[in-house]
Every structure is written in C-alpha cells, then in structure tokens.
C-alpha cells in the first residue's frame, strides 16, 4: 500500500466517524423531540389548562396553577432583569468601552452566565427566604433576575457595538446630547439584536429549575400572591415526574411539552429576527 492510498483510507475512516457522530447527535435530538411530542400530545387536554393540581387519582387534575405561576415568576424577572441589563449593557458599550472597569464587568458577566444556577438559589435562600421566613414567588423571581442580568447585559453590549459609530457622530454633530443619541439612534439601530437577546435570555431563565427549588418552592394550588410559595412548570414537572403515580407523571410530560415548545418558539423567533436583519 502506497503512502497516498493509506492517507485516502485514513481520510475515509475519519470522515465516516465524523458523519456518524453527527448522526448520533442529531439522532438524540430527534429521540428527545419525538418523546416530548408523543408523550406531550398524549397528555395534553383541556383540563391541563383549566384545572389546578389535584391529588393522584383525580380526573380533574391540571397545570393551571403552574402555568400562571411560571408566567408570573418569569414575567416579573423579565420586567426587572431586562431594563437593568439593557442599561448596564449600555454603559459597557457607550461609556465604559474598552476601559478596565468595563472589561472586568464583561469578564465577570461571562463567568456568571455559566455559573451553576443552583448556587444562585442557595444565595437567594439566604438573603430573601430566611429573612422572610418562608418561600415566595418574589424569591424565585429574584433568583431568575440574577441569572438573566448578565445574559441581557452581554447581548446588549455586543449588539450596541455593532451600530456604526458614524451614526452616533452624525447625531452628535446635530447637537444631540449623549442620552438622546443613545435612546434615539443607537437603540434604534440595535433594536432587532437587543430583542433577540431578550428572547433568548427569557427562554434560558424560563427553563431554569434548580434556582426555583428552594426559592419559589411549589404549591399544588393556584396562587397569584407573589409573597407566597408559588408553583412553576419546571418544579411541578420535577415533582410529578419523580412521583410514583402514573397520572402525575403524565401531567409532568404535558408540562415538559408546553415548556419546551415555549422555549423552542422563543429561540426560533429570536433567530428569525436576527436573520431578517442580516438579510436586509
């Protein structure tokens, strides 16, 4: 066998292995998606949306409490986390730029984005749950805000930096003060990118379970009082899936299906927004 033949054979082997691993990776994706859709569709019914939690064995058992709880916890986190994150990101891109302080904030935020979320839960337990004396929806929201902040901050920073500086200079030349330039020129130019960042960030925190386990805890009934323990889809899913009751496990799959579809849609919409922007 000549050297060339050997190289060609090795090349074929590696190419096959690599294609195979791509197939395995995608195979798992389809396996998980198929299971989600199959079990989710099987468990979905009107009662899932119209009924609250019930003890195992009851027909009239649903996820209304968890859906509303999830929306409230994530909604409040978004309401506070997004504006704060955008403002902080604005500082990095428009004021701090390449300064030491700005670079340090960027580095720390990047690290926080990958830090274990369960530790954030422990922190919020110590600063919110212990002083309050009980679990609460607020505690859950605060944990999610801490996770959301660095994500929004970094995407805003990146997206604002993409706005050409000539646009800023043109606005300055017209005599606009800096805050007006930022609000009316820079934000407008980066609108699609910031929105994508928000969608992806919200999608990320909506799937968080670990930081909610001992902050918002859980509740089997509907509660809209943020100072009380609150159900979320993720924690309900965890409790129901690990329970020995088949009807609860089934509801757990319905929760998994609803949550995944929500998160995947946010991701797809976010990507389409950026794609459209690039296409222009």
């Amino acid at each position: 066998m000549t050297h060339t033949q050997k190289r060609i054979i090795i090349n074929k082997i590696v190419m096959t292995l690599s294609t195979l691993s791509a197939l395995i990776g995608i195979g798992f994706l389809f396996w998980i998606l198929a299971i989600l859709i199959f079990n989710g569709m099987d468990a979905l019914s009107w009662t899932i949306f119209s009924q609250e939690g019930a003890p195992p064995g009851y027909e009239e058992s649903g996820l209304k409490h968890a859906l509303i709880g999830q929306l409230m916890i994530v909604g409040v986190a978004t309401l506070f986390g997004v504006p704060l994150g955008i403002l902080a990101g604005t500082y990095l891109s428009e004021y701090g730029q390449k300064s030491h302080l700005a670079e340090t904030i960027r580095d720390i935020s990047d690290i926080m984005m990958s830090a274990p979320s369960i530790v954030i839960g422990a922190f919020v337990y110590a600063i919110v749950v212990t002083p309050m004396g009980h679990f609460s929806g607020w505690a859950g929201s605060i944990a999610l805000i801490i996770i959301l902040l660095p994500i929004i901050l970094r995407t805003t920073d990146d997206m604002l930096q993409l706005v050409p500086s000539t646009l800023r200079e043109a606005a300055f030349a017209l005599g606009a003060p800096k805050y007006k330039v930022i609000m009316q020129v820079v934000y407008r130019g980066a609108k699609a990118g910031i929105l994508t960042g928000i969608l992806l960030g919200v999608a990320r925190v909506a799937g968080e379970t670990a930081p909610l386990l001992f902050t918002s805890f859980n509740d089997n009934f509907l509660s809209t009082d943020m100072t009380d323990p609150m159900a979320s889809l993720t924690v309900t899913m965890y409790n129901y899936a690990t329970s020995p009751y088949e009807d609860w496990q089934k509801i757990g799959w319905a929760a998994a299906f609803i949550l995944s579809m929500f998160i995947l849609s946010l991701n797809i919409i976010g990507r389409l927004l950026l794609f459209k922007k690039k296409g222009r």
């Binding site: 294609t19 989600l36 990095l92 701090g96 720390i108 830090a115 805050y179 379970t209």
Partner: protein, 286 residues
C-alpha cells in the same frame, strides 16, 4: 435640562453595571458567612470526610465531590469525541445545504432546558442502563451519560465556531498541495483553532460540573464512594437539590452552604480558565 438628564443617564447606567460586580462579591460573601458554622465544626475534614450523616450531625463532602468529579469526567469522556466529530462534520464535511439546518438543530438542542434531559433520562435511559449494565439503573454511569448528552450540543456548537475561525485561504493552500480532508483538519484546522477548541471543552466542563437537573433525576443522592459505576451516587448539585428543603439544623444548613461555596469556587475557576483561553485566542484571531 438635557445636561441634567444626560448626567443622570450616564450615572444610572454606570452604577447598574458596577452593581453586577458587587452582586458577585455579595454572593461569595453570603455563601461564605453561612458556611462558617460548618467550617468551624469540621475545618478541612469537611472535604476529606466520607461520612454524610445528618442524624448524627456529621457532614463530610467527599462523596459529593467525588461524584461531581467522576460524573463530569464520564460525561466529558463520552461527549468530547462526539463533539469533535459533530464539529468536524459541521465545519468541514457537510454540504452547504445541510450545514445550516443541522447546525441550527444542534443549537436548539442546546436550548432545551436541562430538566427535560433529566426527565428523559429517568424514563428512557434508566431502564436501558439497568438492562445493559445491571444494577437498578439509577447510577453514576447513567448520570454521566445523561450529562454527556446534555452538554454535547453546546460543546459541538462552540467547537464548530472555533474551527470556523480558520481562514479559508490556509485550508485552500493545503488542498492545493494535495492534502485530504483529514490532512487539512489535523494539520491546519486543529492546530489553528487549538486554543478555541480546548477553551470550549473546558467551558463545557465548567457547565457540566454545576449542572443540577439533568443528573438529579438519575443519580439517586446516595452518599457513598463506590468504584462500581452502576451504583447510585451523589454530586454537589444533587445533594443541594435534594436536601436543601430538608435541612433542619443550623449545622446541616451551614454544611449545604459550604457545599454551594465549594461548587461556586470550582466552577468559577474552571470557567475563568476557559474564558482566558478564549480571550487569548480571540485576540490572536483579530
């Protein structure tokens, strides 16, 4: 008027940004303060003691630390070769028509919350492990496998991005010399993107070690050190997820906070290593 608003705006953005630094410092401080009881009671024995017995007020973190390290190691062992394969496929092999749909599916797979991976692992993977490897299926091995599947998409996507930084002109020159695809990958792409590839593996490692939900379902939370991979085990996040709401004494709480602190320090260190590897690579590229 607008001068005042201008000042307020720059002031507000600056201090919100600085608040992030304080927040991180605050997290470390609070975890440290709440760990003090356990630190006083056990000292360094906390991380070398193998016994975790809440009823005897005896807390040793070694089984949890051991479980975190072994399950993450297993996950890396399985995920790294697959991730390299997927990344090579996406950056060098796939025809243009496939590149984008396959790439996007992998990225979407990375967006699926880890609790779903855990649930899937519990209902579909535990029986497979039980039938193939024996034991009850709830085990270190299952946790390692589920964890590897969970980090694979993230790892593959970042590795692909690193490989994609190789300038086409370098690859084309090598092709012009008669190189095969594998020659180009091993002699051009991998050497060029080495720092980025290693950085992405370390970043995935940092994420895997702190991952809670994907492993909580399938690990069993049993505080023992066993060389038998099919035996139930525990890890730091699994212990926290299972026991935080059950802790009934201040020493128990304090021990759990010390576990959180250890986990945060470990992942902060690993992620920083990856991050500064990345940064160096980025600066080289630009």
């Amino acid at each position: 008027m607008s001068v005042i608003i201008d000042k307020i705006f720059s002031f507000a953005t600056k201090y919100i940004a600085i608040a992030i630094l304080f927040l991180v410092a605050w997290i470390f401080t609070v975890l440290f303060q709440h760990s003090l009881d356990a630190m006083e009671a056990f000292g360094f024995d906390f991380i070398t003691e193998t016994k975790w017995a809440p009823n005897l007020e005896k807390f040793g973190a070694l089984p949890a630390i051991y479980g975190s390290i072994v399950s993450t190691f297993l996950a890396m062992l399985l995920a790294v070769p697959l991730a390299i394969g997927v990344a090579i496929f996406l950056s060098e092999l796939a025809p243009a028509k496939l590149k984008s749909p396959v790439g996007v599916s992998i990225e979407l797979l990375a967006a699926i919350p880890s609790v779903i991976y855990g649930m899937w692992g519990l209902f579909y993977f535990v029986p497979i492990v039980r039938d193939v490897f024996g034991g009850i299926g709830i085990s270190m091995l299952t946790a390692g496998i589920v964890l590897s599947i969970m980090i694979l998409p993230f790892m593959a996507a970042v590795t692909r991005d690193a490989m994609n930084t190789t300038p086409d002109i370098l690859k084309e020159s090598a092709y012009a010399l008669g190189g095969t695809k594998w020659d180009i990958i091993k002699d051009i792409v991998i050497p060029y993107a080495k720092a980025g590839i290693i950085g992405s593996f370390i970043l995935a490692l940092g994420r895997a070690i702190g991952e809670t939900m994907a492993v909580t379902f399938v690990m069993g939370n049993v505080h023992q050190i066993s060389t038998n991979l099919t035996a139930p085990a525990t890890s730091i996040p699994v212990t926290l997820a299972n026991e935080f709401t059950e802790a009934d004494t201040s020493l128990y709480y304090s021990s759990l906070f010390e576990l959180s602190l250890i986990l945060l320090v470990i992942s902060f260190t690993i992620i920083s290593i990856a991050k500064f590897y990345f940064l160096r690579n980025k600066r080289l590229a630009s």
